[in-house]
């Protein structure tokens, strides 16, 4: 790999000359409009040309000043005219390779390559991004980057002519799960925000008089609510469709490839040796619809890159289970029975839920005592009921186990998750307990790892079970400290 001859610097694809100026024009659009309007008013024609020329020139400069090469086991990227950047990264530290193609890219047969090395630099300037390579070249580069890495030993990894069979492939019935995610609410909120802004902008006033209010019958309110729900559902489905259409998860060349997107396609490749485990998200709403989602815990890929680690978007539970067992190589972590955390942990769930609802209840009861309508007591009862239901579900969810070299933990209710982390990727343990927890002999255990959120958490487990889990998962690591851990 260490080539004594320095490789020549390579340019991006010249077709980017079409994309870059177009993008710059869009970015300068407000300025352009201003110039055109001002120019039209004062009759200054040449200024308008300058307004178009600057963005085009910027695009050209960007093309001319950006180049990359792969040499001596490193990938290097040079860019910038005034402020020169030279980025260099060792290929064996490459963790993910993303191929993104917007509509403009796709029309021209191009793709953007983003190389993830697990660096914490969030600055856009520090990202290894090759915006605009021909599709085939981008795909070849990806294979080269990922194979020179950890998967070099895998001789079957050479890209064959036949595309590999996807582990998971998008099915239209997945759209059914879209309304059970929070995506619709977010989209609706954004839409309402934009609408209210535009009505303000165009000085559209909606005058509401008292007559209007009295004319507002129950039927109209119901109709409005139904329309709102329909809008949210529609937006959720549309958003899900745009992001996840054409989804596929494949395994090829020592990496997992996730491909999705209706307009902008995005292909993420995760080096398989860096996949430390998976997280199955099963929020309450999605569970009601018999769905789940799956994401990977990737070493060196921090939380901010969580979207990059999606393995299966909200989809049928069976699909997710199949995908998880293929990715982990065994179905056990997602199917094995979990060890419950006992009555102390259950009691804690109830106490905490009720304590959380206490302020609401107290305020309501206080209001009734002070002379408000007794109907408020119904609301208070509802709050208590909701707290009890939450506590019941949270207590039911708690569990952990160690199966086939995977630490498995499940917790939560509204955002329930089941994490499976390979014991080889556990890089430490944290035991946390408050005075309340010590009183009943419980402890919250974190198995720390170098990816995802940095840890998977097993809340409120009995001290004995916790030590057993840690000792079994990483033999010999915890044992020397047991005597110390049990005193104080």
């Amino acid at each position: 790999m260490t080539d004594p001859d320095p490789q020549p610097w390579l340019r991006l694809d010249p077709r980017m000359l079409l994309v870059h100026p177009a993008r710059e024009v869009v970015r300068f659009l407000p300025v352009l409009v201003g110039i055109l309007v001002a120019g039209g008013a004062s009759g200054a024609g040449p200024w308008g040309l300058l307004g178009v020329g600057i963005p085009v020139a910027l695009g050209l400069v960007r093309y001319l000043t950006t180049s990359y090469r792969i040499t001596g086991g490193r990938v290097e990227l040079r860019r910038g005219l005034v402020q020169r950047h030279l980025l260099s990264a060792a290929i064996d530290r490459v963790r993910t390779v993303d191929l993104t193609a917007t509509l403009a890219h796709r029309v021209l047969g191009l793709a953007t390559v983003v190389i993830g090395t697990g660096s914490v630099a969030a600055d856009a300037d520090e990202q290894l991004e090759l915006d605009g390579l021909p599709r085939e070249q981008a795909a070849a580069l990806r294979v080269q980057l990922l194979q020179s890495g950890a998967a070099a030993a895998d001789d079957a990894a050479l890209p064959s002519g036949t595309p590999p069979v996807p582990v998971v492939r998008f099915a239209p019935r997945w759209l059914w799960y879209a309304p059970f995610t929070s995506g619709g609410l977010v989209a609706a909120g954004a839409l309402i925000g934009v609408l209210s802004q535009t009505t303000e902008l165009f000085a559209v006033r909606i005058d509401v008089t008292e007559d209007d209010l009295s004319a507002l019958t129950g039927l109209a309110v119901l109709g409005g609510a139904v329309a709102l729900v329909a809008l949210v559902v529609l937006l959720a489905v549309a958003g899900y469709w745009v992001v996840n259409a054409g989804f596929s998860l494949t395994h090829d060349g020592g990496a997992w490839h996730v491909r999705r997107g209706l307009l902008t396609t995005r292909e993420t490749s995760l080096d398989e040796t860096r996949v430390a485990g998976v997280t199955r998200g099963e929020p309450a709403a999605l569970r009601l619809a018999h769905g789940a989602r799956l994401s990977a815990i990737v070493t060196g890929l921090a939380r901010s890159g969580e979207s990059g680690a999606v393995l299966v978007p909200p989809a049928p539970r069976d699909t997710v289970a199949d995908a998880a067992s293929v990715v982990l190589g065994t179905p056990a972590p997602m199917t094995a029975p979990l060890r419950a955390h006992g009555p102390e942990a259950t009691r804690r769930r109830y106490v905490r839920a009720l304590a959380g609802s206490a302020p609401v209840v107290l305020v309501l009861v206080g209001a009734v005592v002070a002379g408000a309508s007794p109907a408020l007591l119904v609301v208070a009862a509802l709050a208590i009921g909701a707290a009890l239901a939450l506590a019941w579900d949270r207590a039911r969810s708690l569990g952990h186990t160690l199966v086939e070299q995977f630490v498995v933990a499940r917790s939560g209710s509204l955002r329930r998750r089941r994490d499976a982390l390979a014991t080889g990727h556990v890089i430490g343990w944290t035991f946390r307990d408050t005075w309340f927890q010590r009183r009943v002999g419980l402890v919250t255990v974190d198995a720390t790892t170098a990816g995802g959120q940095g840890r998977i958490t097993v809340p409120d487990v009995r001290v004995g079970d916790a030590i057993e889990l840690a000792d079994a998962a990483t033999p010999g690591l915890v044992a020397p400290f047991l005597r110390l851990g049990s005193d104080a």
């Binding site: 530290r93 697990g118 070493t299 060196g300 921090a302 939380r303 890089i427 430490g428 343990w429 944290t430 035991f431 946390r432 307990d433 408050t434 005075w435 010590r438 974190d446 720390t448 790892t449 170098a450 990816g451 959120q453 940095g454 840890r455 840690a470 990483t474 010999g476 690591l477 915890v478 020397p480 400290f481 110390l484 851990g485 104080a488």
Partner: protein, 136 residues
């Protein structure tokens, strides 16, 4: 030390409130809470705080009301950091921070004697250096 800053913060807060002519009992309560904190918490922290380094792992225990024990295998240690604030220098103390590749937080050993801390850093660095790979 953090208790001291808390006390100062509370006193300043009480002082500011006083200028807005809020009752004296607020100031009194603040002082009482701060004093209790200063008297109890550092002692409590000191009693809880433990650390140990073996051939294979680093272990710390810290906290007071909420206690946290962390274990990191020597093979996963990424950096060893020694820090001394102005006050710590005056008392010849130092804090050693051991980080792993996890984002979930480093292991911290507070208030070590400076020579002990320097020795510990040398020891940890030597031991962590024996392991190959990028410790992730």
């Amino acid at each position: 030390m953090s208790a001291g800053t808390t006390l100062v913060a509370l006193l300043v807060a009480a002082w500011l409130w006083d200028t807005y002519a809020v009752r004296w009992w607020v100031v009194g309560a603040a002082i009482a809470v701060a004093t209790a904190y200063v008297v109890v918490v550092p002692e409590w922290r000191y009693l809880v705080h433990r650390w140990e380094v073996t051939e294979t792992a680093v272990y710390t225990q810290r906290g007071w009301w909420a206690r946290e024990r962390r274990i990191a295998p020597m093979s996963r240690v990424q950096t060893v950091d020694l820090a001394q604030g102005a006050l710590a220098r005056a008392f010849r103390l130092a804090t050693v921070t051991v980080t792993t590749a996890s984002a979930a937080g480093p292991l911290r050993i507070d208030g070590l004697d400076r020579d002990v801390a320097l020795g510990l850093v040398a020891e940890l660095t030597a031991k962590a250096d024996l392991v190959e790979g990028d410790a992730t």
